[in-house]
Amino acid sequence: MAGQTLYDKLWSQHLVKERDDGTALIYIDRHLLHEVTSPQAFEGLRLAGRKPWRLDANLATPDHNVPTTVVERARGNAGIQDPVSLIQVQTLDDNCEAFGIEEFKINDARQGIVHVVGPEQGATLPGMTVVCGDSHTATHGAFAALAHGIGTSEVEHVLATQCLLAQKMKNMLVRVEGELGLGVTAKDIVLAVIGEIGTAGGTGYAIEFAGSAIRGLSMEGRMTVCNMAIEAGARVGLIAVDDTTIDYLKDRPYAPSAAQREAAVADWRGLVSDEDAAFDKVVELDAAAIEPQVTWGTSPEMVTGVSGEVPDPEAEADATVKSGYQRALEYMGLAPRQKITDIKLDKVFIGSCTNSRIEDLREAAKVAKGKKVADSVQLAMVVPGSGLVKRQAEAEGLDKIFVEAGFEWREPGCSMCLAMNADKLGAGEHCASTSNRNFEGRQGYGGRTHLVSPAMAAAAAIAGHFVDVRTLESNRAAQEA
């Protein structure tokens, strides 16, 4: 018999029951909640007279709607200007209170984007099933946890039963071997993967990311990669456990106690695909060939290397692709064959559950240090992923570097990733963004998003247009040394 993949192992460890109709009941270890996708689920529980199955499996924090300026945040919920947003955040507080669910409220230092908070607290552990009413739950797969997004009906289902009805996915292996070029990051890897397989390439699969380039990433980088598995169509992204995983989890609040740690670590070591495991599909990428990536269109698969150019729709044979490209170029206000480095930016956003962790901020700060944001850029903002990331960055003096360079240093939340709060793009504005979606209107009505890494975003803020981070002085010097 062929060996098992990591996904197969996680699946069978949580299988409560297989049913005759082909669905299975899967036990859920961790359920993360935020204000946008939970109110209707709590309401459903109430209407049916049901209670949460296991309170301590749940952890909540408001993130999508919270304002990010210091002045607003100082006032807690009362600082939320938009009355509809306020009701949503208040409803989460009320529901958590009423049902007894632990919540990191708006001004708790542990508050932040739910996908930054879970791992940071050790509330995401290897071998867990983790779900949240948010598609970027795939992030937590970096810890060899079976993690995926769910809809609101499923949020209610998990609250009430601690289980999900699921069907087993197929297995895909994305192997990235070799060494990344200087200034090329986890974000560039995942954008390159999406460019390769397309936004529907992973549909129906759990993707395991492997290979030396993935092994070489920190946990922050691995989370960036798994975060965007959903942009490749896969609900689940996974990375096997190794020393990097185990070291990261030491001493985190929810991580195993000292007495449990040895047994836990021994168990975690088994969370790797067997050598003879069979994958339904294998994709291979050469790390050394990956350039810093920039999206030019309105889907994450519309991406190219920074030295490239916007494609010419006329060159496309497939009619659907061609009309998609034409529509994207029109929306983005770009011309066929325009050079990527000629795209000028109006705003720059460094943040989101893809790239708002400490390492991301360090990379951006390294580029911004001693420089100034270009006059043509109206707003460049840095939004840390959580209160604890913010605190750490300030302890390292990163906030000063950003502020001196002309960036705004904000309070944690989703912010301009989806612009549910006041942070948004105006119509026609181009934004270099470290987030994960460049859909039409995503960052504001008519806004034009280009997805990039934190270093590329910082460099674009300073130049006013895209530049190849590999040509920056700091990187050149390091390369020559």
């Binding site: 552990l125 071998g127 009906s153 289902h157 009430a160 529907a200 659907t320």
Partner: protein, 215 residues
């Protein structure tokens, strides 16, 4: 959940691949804590010429005359014909809520995004996956003849075109059952309460750290 009845549905064609959930229902409308009322904002950015706000009276807003759902011939459509990878993007269940609230009971496309697929069925919407060329043919037929209706029979897993062509489709047994009966799946799962408890106990004994609270 509303039971799924056999449809003699008017078909509206949305000729565009990778329709994402941000396009189906833009984020400003996710602030509602209700489950209903999203229909007027379905495809908001395509449907209206201005930027929509939650709670606004949409009857006064300028409509985009070019958008397919605004055309007189498609009023009252209950079947949406779409292109590949429909429903990609976020997990927002507001997307199927908006589609259902607008009146769509069926979406036909060559492929759907995974999370959207789950969410739609939980809200009484039948998603039908057909081969790309069959979908292409339906697009041509719909556009060519006004008042084009499809007979969608879930029981038989069969679509019949006005010309009498029969297209069979696959759907998994559990989803079909829930849709036809209008069943709430939490109730179904709780019938297995004992199995869940037994599993939970075993799981806790094997991996107690998964149940640990912050120290």
């Amino acid at each position: 959940m509303q039971k799924f009845e056999r449809q003699q549905g008017l078909v509206a064609p949305l000729d565009r691949a990778n329709v994402d959930t941000d396009l189906i229902i833009p984020k400003q409308f996710l602030k509602s804590i209700q489950r209903s009322g999203f229909g007027v904002n379905l495809f908001d950015e395509l449907r209206y010429l201005d930027e929509g706000q939650p709670g606004q009276d949409c009857s006064q807003r300028p409509l985009n005359p070019d958008f397919v759902l605004n055309q007189a011939r498609y009023q009252g459509a209950s079947v949406l014909l779409a292109r590949r990878n429909f429903g990609c993007g976020s997990s927002r269940e507001h997307a199927p809520w908006a589609l259902a609230d607008f009146g769509f009971r069926v979406v036909i496309a060559p492929s759907f995004a995974d999370i959207f697929y789950n969410n739609a069925f939980k809200n009484g919407i039948l998603l039908i996956t057909l081969p790309e060329e069959a979908v292409g043919r339906l697009f041509r037929e719909v556009e060519a003849s006004e008042g084009y209706r499809l007979d969608v029979d879930l029981e038989q897993q069969r679509i019949t075109t006005p010309g009498g062509e029969i297209l069979e489709f696959a759907v998994d047994a559990f989803r079909k059952h829930c849709l036809l009966e209008g069943l709430d799946d939490i109730g179904i799962t709780l019938q297995d309460e004992d199995a869940i408890r037994a599993f939970e106990e075993k799981h806790r004994a094997a991996r107690p750290w998964l149940f640990r609270q912050a120290g």
